[in-house]
Symmetry: C2
Subunit: 340 residues, 2 copies
Amino acid sequence: MKQKITIKTIAKELGVSTSTVSKALKDSHEISSETKEKIQAYANHYNYKPNNLALQLRNQKTKVIGVILPKIVHHFFSTVIMGIEDGANERGYNIMVCFSNESYKKEVETLKVLSNGSVDGLIVSIASETLENKDFNHFKGLVTEEIPLVLFDRVVDEILCDKVVVDDVGAGYKATKHLLDNGNKKIALITTPNHVNVGALRRQGYEKALIEEYIKTNENFIVEVDEKKDIKKQIEKVFDEDIDAVFAVNEIYAANAMRIAKEKGFKVPEDMSIIGFTDGLISEYSSPSITTIAQHGFTMGKQAVALLIDRIENESEVFKPKKIVISSDLKLRESTKPSS
Amino acid sequence: MKQKITIKTIAKELGVSTSTVSKALKDSHEISSETKEKIQAYANHYNYKPNNLALQLRNQKTKVIGVILPKIVHHFFSTVIMGIEDGANERGYNIMVCFSNESYKKEVETLKVLSNGSVDGLIVSIASETLENKDFNHFKGLVTEEIPLVLFDRVVDEILCDKVVVDDVGAGYKATKHLLDNGNKKIALITTPNHVNVGALRRQGYEKALIEEYIKTNENFIVEVDEKKDIKKQIEKVFDEDIDAVFAVNEIYAANAMRIAKEKGFKVPEDMSIIGFTDGLISEYSSPSITTIAQHGFTMGKQAVALLIDRIENESEVFKPKKIVISSDLKLRESTKPSS
DNA sequence: TGTCAACACGAAACCGATTTCGTAACTTTT
DNA sequence: AAAAGTTACGAAATCGGTTTCGTGTTGACA
């Protein structure tokens, strides 16, 4: 990189001190307008830009927010990022994005790197491997160091910090209820393994809706997808059961279910209703398009970042973790029967 | 944030100088093993972590790469980010991600912020508004400041820097040729306005393939989609023409075409073949699934970041812009007739 | 016993800004 | 004319590290 122009250069060239330059550039009243003009003109001409690192070191803040996501090629997380970036920008922050790729080890490392003063705070959605391990010491470390932290979507109670979640139980209930209301009784659930708590919560909602209708949950109707294996094959198995509807906890599972249903000769939604989660492009462009729970990822991102920046800028405040619950909506499309 | 422990604290507590602490922590031979052990034990116990900002200021490098994308809720860009992050991590860099949201103004601002020393280099895909304006002074500024820059996918010749692109002409040709080879003659093209150069290049490939078969391009078969208006309506119009195939320059257009074709009663691929671009989830889960040009976003990201880091770490090298062309593959699926 | 090297450590400069405090040179007040 | 107040600027500390260049103390060797 080319030798950049600094305050020192300007000072030397113009025969003044660095303090004078600094003040002149901030239009301080301490400096005569004559000197100010001279300095400003010079700075302008040579396109002087204050060095951010120096400022960050001095101010002890970076105006950067670290974001760690399990993955990005996923409609929900993409929209969350958009929300975070948007909210951050509004308040003069930038975001530094990293991915854990669902790996515990990478999450620990990334957290370590980012917490070395590179960021003022962190927004994280926990990796599935970490949720499985149940080892959250790396997060607890952050808390004791008092580095502002906001968890979203995939959160755990053990970590004392602000959280933003969707009302997963309610959403699971809403989806299942919708199926029940339209005459479906034998509803399969395609979910994640139980350690991914959003999956577990959505399942709770599913079970709650069934119980209300005095339907016993049938374990054979429930598939816990292991993403390391072939997803489609695992989902296919539940179609051997006598089912008339599928509730999938994400888009991909729903799209797979749709495909399998069609292959098996079911008519959607006449013989088989399908509801997904995450209102992404797959659901929208599938045919028939898929009824789904819209998670409002953008809103979640904005809320998370607002929470975080408030925390960063009001350190003095007594620490009382907040939890924001974002409601989710059922987006009716063609894969379920119209409400009767 | 809690008062963090610094080298100064350690020095004071242990009654040594900061230089001694610094050296001890780097296991310098200048320090007696006795003192080293004492200092290291202390640092370890109090979980000392060197302040990144201080190091960055001193070393004049941040080990951070800025990435500016037009959007993220898009399979191609998501995969590119993954590639960039992956490649960056391998070489000890982090990425700072921003979005221009296709806006010229935001691109300029973001570029200004990031080039203040916050990053060692930049990877950018140009906003469509900027391409339309043809105002690239903000990029030229970077070049004269000698801040390493790599453009990918949406690039322009005016900017002298490294570039990574897909072989858009070739890909457009490949897609069109495939349609022609399978008996389609009246091929519609759903593309972007001409200022988005990837669209223009893919169109060139399309035209080239037609010319080879002595088919005159029919302007009525070509739709330049304005994303500010209703996408579907614009695409629908071309179906009024007598066409037997559609080549769309991205997933969304292809999915829309698929939907319209089905609505109009065409059988895909018997009556109507469809080829898309970007091998994303929509193409995969559409039914019938969509034949598409796979762009290898991950590879592009990795190549771009490798190019950038090489540039960052070998500033001495004479500057000769490199251009890497990533080949793209035709991924055959159900929306086109099997090769005869 | 004087000299020199090795050892172990500290002082101070440096990265690029900001900011407090001091002060010389005027101007105003009494 | 002395005291007080302005004006316009500079010196130096600071942020948290690294690194160069001393320097005092040993011990070995001639």
